[in-house]
Amino acid sequence: MIQYTIQRVALALGIVFVAISALYGVMIALPGDPTSVLLGPRATPDMRALFREQMGLDDPLAVQILNFWGRVLSGDLGTDFFRNRPVAVAVMSALPHTVALVFGAIFWSATLGILLGAFSADRRNSLLDRVTGVISVAFIAAPSFVVALYSLLLFSVTLRWFPSIGAGEPGDLLSRIQHLVLPSLAIGLAWVGYVARIVRASMLEAMGESYIRTARAFGLPRRRVVYNYALRVAILPAVQVLGVGIGGMLSSAVFAEIVFSRPGIGTLIYTSVSDRNYPVVMGAMLVAIGFFVTCALIADLINAALDPRHRKTQ
């Protein structure tokens, strides 16, 4: 397990390093004056000169990339020249909102998905099972930003059940949660479908295993066997899917944040891209990719810890 953990962590670090270096390289190597590419057309000559010096733009590309990483490792993500603040500050003030959103989505998909999946597996091949199956696929297919727009239209604009703008009052937990309900549901709905299907499939597989039969033969109530024993095994694959799904959720979060006018990494990247504020784009991308890879890694390690067979498959 230790060896496996080391391997996986090394691979994850390698992926983040290469993914970010490539992106940084593309931005630097693009035709045109890198200062105008990286700082945007609105930059003043002073800003350009400062930037050129700070970034060491006359060094070879490889050196520049290594220098970039040197700064990142010492906690310096660069400077947001437009608002004159460190990029790290901008990113770190946006990150908690996005993390809350993604975990809200995971909450929806785990609770609703496991309930739906366990329910279908318990009544396999009944009409209800078929209906839930179709609903699951419909959830998976519905594009998250259309779900976000429809729920905004229905629950915020028409019914006025939930607020439509912002992330809520700082310090007021209830208001924060109220503001989180719709956007996190919009992101999580597709994953409700995925989780439901996977939980159903793995529960059905588990229910064919001999230890379940033994438990039934010993006279344990059916309900207890299904919901305690089989469900426990079925949660593992769901954890893995959600871990990998975080990348997709981050993409959906961009839409949810924009549709519901919430602060967050998505909004930050979106506004920075429109402003051509590249240092912020780079910093936010680094955090987004790092977050995604870390979550996928954790899901993978949890799986490996709980199910040793998993360590060999890859």
Binding site: V137, P143, L149, V157, V254, I265, V273
Partner: protein, 282 residues
């Protein structure tokens, strides 16, 4: 081959969800192809006295903020969606197919290097990468297609690689080799046809994803140029004027939901028919 197809279609016809999916897809394709003939109005024509009109006999799905007929614009948007979707799926599918087979057949180090490459590409959250790249590239359909290809061919590559690896060591390939079959014969006569099944399922399921990415990019303003009636642009207009009319959002989201439902149900049905083993997987 023709008998195989006949039975496949026969089996699909007995699956009500597959039939529904095929009907939806066929209707959308027909509407996109014959958009000019079906559209009641020119999709750029502005009816300034009928801005934000609700659906009526005159404007079937209402009008937008400039008084343009939403139905005509959505028909035109179907063209954009299909063009981007098919082009991007074909290009990324081919790249993935070639790289996946190279990884499956190549030496260990090359396989590992390609796997690492695939995993690195998959680490980019699609829309976030699209935003970053779109800022560096000119706005337009080409950019949309490039972004989609970059973010999606790794998926094909991984599936093709796994399939190739498992086939490479199967007994019928060993037998072929023992009989002295050439490398080309093994690849094109044996591996390729067997890889194509899962490949087409993936492509069918990937197409709506691609169409959604195009709509998403256009919604965010980094997709099609301004004024182009992509489904995403229609939704963006609806979002900007959500207090004036609900119809733009309702109508603009509909084709996207239909197209994703259609292709997802078709992909599901194809998977059930072509590869029952995959069912318990993802």
């Amino acid at each position: 081959m023709s008998r195989f197809r006949h039975t496949l279609i026969g089996r699909l016809a007995r699956d009500p969800l597959a039939v529904m999916a095929i009907v939806i897809i066929a209707a959308l394709v027909v509407m996109a192809v014959f958009a000019d003939l079906i559209a009641p109005y020119d999709y750029t024509a502005m009816h300034m006295t009928d801005r934000f009109a609700a659906p009526s006999a005159e404007f079937w799905l209402g009008t937008d903020n400039l008084g343009r007929d939403t139905f005509s614009r959505l028909l035109q948007g179907g063209r954009i969606a299909l063009t981007v979707g098919l082009t991007a799926v074909i290009i990324s599918g081919l790249i993935g197919l070639v790289l996946g087979m190279i990884a499956g057949f190549g030496p260990r180090w090359l396989d590992n290097a390609l796997l690492f490459f695939f995993d690195t590409l998959r680490a980019y959250p699609t829309i976030i990468l699209a935003l970053a790249l779109a800022a560096l590239m000119p706005r337009g359909l080409t950019t949309v297609i490039v972004v989609v290809v970059i973010t999606s061919f790794a998926e094909y590559g991984r599936v093709v690689r796994t399939q190739t690896l498992s086939l490479k060591h199967s007994e019928f390939i060993l037998a072929e080799r023992a009989m002295g079959a050439s490398f080309g014969r093994i690849v094109f006569h044996h591996i390729l046809p067997n890889v194509l099944g899962p490949f087409f399922i993936l492509a069918a399921m990937n197409l709506p994803v691609v169409i959604t990415i195009e709509a998403g990019m256009s919604f965010l303003g980094v997709g099609v140029p301004p004024g182009t009636p992509s489904w995403g642009s229609t939704l963006k207009d609806g979002f900007d004027h959500i207090r004036q009319t609900p119809w733009l959002i309702l109508a603009g989201g509909l084709p996207l939901i239909l197209v994703t439902l259609g292709f997802t149900f078709l992909g599901e049905a194809l998977r059930d028919q072509l590869d029952p083993k995959l069912r318990s997987g993802r």
